[in-house]
Amino acid sequence: MTGEKKEWPLWEVFVRSKAGLDHKHCGSLHASDGNMALQMARDVYTRRSEGTSIWVVRSDQIFASDPAEKGMLFDPMESKVYRHPTFFKLPASVNHM
């Protein structure tokens, strides 16, 4: 089994721009392992102080919803308007709730 034909796996990169915020997905890269992925992510995705923390995840570890099921998964929410605070009209004096 030759290493030559084995491509480095793909990693997804998530960067937290500053303390208190979430890590946001910002791109992907190929690296041979987690440490290299972190270093490369630092080199590519934080060149202009975009981040204070990096997560890298192997792309094949990500479970994603199927776009074909988008309707089935997310349409039911449209009729459940009572989940929103704005559904409830209250007297002005207590409306700050």
Binding site: G3, E7, W8, M36, P67
Partner: protein, 335 residues
């Protein structure tokens, strides 16, 4: 800019005259409706096979252009006149490596591997922007490349931020944010030479402008009338503005900039046309363009040879890294 020439040559057209199933017809109609509505297509969405093929070719060639584009500038890293300019040039070149990465990543979402794309480049089947087949002869070339070549690139890339294929559009947003520094640093270097330099330095700048102006205009691709594939790309929402329109926008924006620098653009026919509200300009030598695109420019062979040796000489590093990773992988623990 690096998308110039990407839609040259035979391109898959929609339909292709094959029998398609009722299911596929429905999906095609849905797809067309989404494009017409200005929706973004994501990686796992259904798309016509030819849409996929066109994007793979355009995005991968765009990526190749970024990487090959590092070479003419790499020439001047050891020759930069000051530490400041050297650091700036290094940063620009590093950015371009990163841009290549964003674009390869976007192309890979369409089902092609990095190895396959690089193989196409190294074997000469894939193209890259022909502007990089010109030599960088003086330090002033670095400034002019930033000003004109990156300027043209920005003109081309801004509309791509709204391209219908979302991974490509997102890569372009990232690239455009960083590209502006590339143009500004070039203009800044030229301004320094023109306003604070010697007569010899000013002449060097003018010479560089003379050599890079026309190739920069060619970056927008052949005239619309000679670009049969533009229509399909526009129908699919990949291309938003025509070659000629982009070229005109670039010229209109650049002429005033040349006046600030105090350089002459090497076109005796360049003149403001009040009636049109645009600059008139001279005839482009498209023979030169086709020659360079076809592989016969000043540096084509040298550029490709450099890329091929970098790939081949680096093979042991890639193998060693994988061997190390395999040896040190933690066995999966039962949860």
């Amino acid at each position: 800019m690096y998308t110039q020439a990407m839609d040259l040559g035979p391109q898959p057209t929609e339909g292709g005259g094959k029998e398609i199933s009722a299911d596929e017809k429905r999906l095609q109609l849905q797809f067309d409706a989404r494009i017409d509505a200005g929706d973004f297509i994501e990686a796992k969405d259904w798309m016509p096979e030819n849409f996929r093929k066109t994007l793979i070719r355009q995005i991968s060639q765009h990526a190749h252009s970024e990487i090959v584009g590092m070479l003419p500038e790499g020439n001047w890293v050891t020759r930069a006149p000051t530490l400041k300019r050297k650091a700036i040039l290094l940063a620009k070149i590093q950015d371009e490596g990163g841009h290549g990465l964003y674009l390869y990543a976007a192309a890979e979402t369409l089902g092609i591997s990095r190895d396959q794309m690089l193989d196409a480049l190294h074997s000469g089947r894939a193209k890259y922007s022909s502007i990089f087949n010109y030599p960088t002869l003086t330090w002033a070339d670095m400034g002019v490349i930033g000003w004109l070549v990156d300027g043209a690139a920005i003109m081309n890339q801004v509309p791509l931020c709204r391209c219908s294929y979302a991974p490509y559009a997102r890569a372009m947003v990232r690239i455009c944010r960083e590209e502006s520094f590339h143009q500004r640093q070039g203009f800044d270097a030229l301004l320094t030479m023109m306003t604070q330099g010697t007569a010899q330095q000013r002449a060097m700048v003018q010479d560089a402008v003379n050599r890079w102006w026309w190739p920069s205009l060619m970056m927008f691709g052949p005239p619309d009338v000679d670009s049969p594939n533009s229509a399909q790309s526009m129908r699919w929402g990949i291309k938003r503005i025509s070659n000629d329109d982009l070229r005109q926008k670039f010229i209109d924006a650049t002429v005033p900039q040349s006046e600030v620098l105090g350089v002459q653009l090497p076109d005796p026919d360049l003149k403001w046309n009040e009636a049109r509200g645009h600059y008139d300009f001279g005839l482009i030598d498209w023979k030169e363009f086709w020659q360079v695109v076809g592989g016969d420019g000043p540096c084509n062979r040298e550029r490709l040879a450099a890329r091929v040796s970098a790939w081949e000489d680096g093979a042991w590093v890639r193998q060693a890294a994988m061997a190390y990773a395999d040896k040190h992988t933690e066995p999966q623990r039962a949860s």
